[in-house]
Symmetry: C2
Subunit: 258 residues, 2 copies
């Protein structure tokens, strides 16, 4: 099977014009079929502020009410997505922006209300790769924002790490998928204060140990759960680290293995 790279970038790149344009330049040169997934960064909160719309929280968790979903749609699918597409085109990387509604590519259900009503948040139930395959097989790069839909006319806000892992699983039917999570650190660290303490390999067994030791906690936990979900569903390779892991051969990063 042909290889396909899925690369997820987060707020640390999105919020920094120079970092983003450097990344886009390097990304545009990557050979072979590829898909980009981007998070939202701080722009949505900034716009909410400018519009005088309050960011709603319950028990420290962000709630997506109708206004917040509108803002996410404008910022993620509009400003950020088109800003990436227009820069990719300038480097001759032909690309098309996607939400999960476009091409009916990512179907989700509104998260059931239990202790918290998260509002318009979607949990992914199905990835349809027909339209995406048509594009990547013609050398066109889909660029995803973190929105999905319920097939009944409702857009839903969805975690960008989850979008990346679910797309990876979806593409694994037809490609040998490599999934790259780019973030602000060199990888999963043994000591969060020490950038040199990158754990180079994590597998199912060592993962459990690292959780029990409290080394993997907080924000890393859902990220790594996404990774292991993907690796257990035929995704070939998963790497976590700074974007340079993709472009420089001597970079350190964390590789997830079964």
């Amino acid at each position: 099977m042909k290889a396909l790279k899925i690369i997820k970038i987060g707020g640390n790149i999105i919020d920094d014009d120079k970092a983003l344009s450097d990344f886009i330049f390097e990304f545009s040169k990557l050979k072979g079929p590829k898909v980009l997934v981007h998070g939202g960064g701080k722009l949505a909160s900034k716009l909410a502020n400018q519009m005088g719309i309050e960011v709603k929280m319950t028990n420290g968790r962000r709630i997506t009410d109708a206004d917040t979903l509108d803002i996410a749609t404008m910022v993620y699918a509009g400003k950020i997505n088109k800003n990436i597409i227009v820069q990719l085109q300038a480097y001759n990387c032909n690309s098309v922006g996607f939400s999960g509604a476009d091409g009916n590519s990512i179907v989700s259900i509104k998260r059931p209300v239990k202790a918290i009503d998260f509002g318009f948040v979607g949990d992914v139930v199905k990835v349809n790769t027909e339209v995406l395959n048509l594009l990547v097989n013609n050398n066109i790069t889909p660029v995803f924002c973190a929105l999905t839909h319920d097939t009944k006319g409702q857009l839903l806000n969805t975690n960008a790490d989850t979008i990346a892992s679910e797309l990876a699983i979806g593409f694994a039917k037809d490609f040998e998928v490599e999934l790259y999570y780019c973030f602000e650190k060199e990888g999963v660290l043994l000591d969060v204060e020490d950038d040199d303490s990158v754990i180079e390999n994590i597998n199912t067994k060592t993962y459990q140990d690292l959780i029990e030791q409290g080394i993997i906690a907080d924000g890393m936990l859902p990220k790594l759960n996404n990774c292991f979900h993907a690796i257990e569903n035929k995704v070939s390779k998963i790497c976590i680290g700074k974007p340079k892991m993709l472009f420089k051969s001597n970079s350190k990063f964390t590789t997830i293995q079964k």
Copy 2:
């Protein structure tokens, strides 16, 4: 050659939730390859207001400064475009949202500064239908907002009527293109106060007469210039009227002929 319909809807539909969802339902049922182009409506001005950003005008013409372009990108490519896509998907009309940057589909140049500096406004110079053909030939409907790009990394605001006519000309290489301009009137009217005074056919000769008589003026002039530009460039059929001209056999509307 196979027929392809390009349908442009404007603010009178975009700004009215009921009219828009009725239109989307009817549009979703249209058979054969089709493309939708939507204008912006009043949402962009409303957002500018909420954000405390002034709409800049020179000699009564709207100027697209950097803030205004950002707002257009958020509202047109984000909120309106995804709102249309998600509703089309609910009616099983598989569709993908496009700006002119997506798929490098519509290339423009920033309008040269003469008497007025219009700012980030693009005049279309090239339509690339490769990606669009790939989609329409696979029964997927592109939905365009009125943004283009200059291939150097700059998005540009472009008139939606122009987008529709330029796409029509681009597709005319491979399809027998029918272009429909939907607006709030039954067609081009002899008497602007009388909805029954629809001019059913306009050709190059009668067009000049109507301009000289002052019957076609103001906003209708650029719209009809777009029509004649298209009809002179191999577009098969152009109609102007209310959306029902597409869905009801007994509707009146104006047809443009060579």
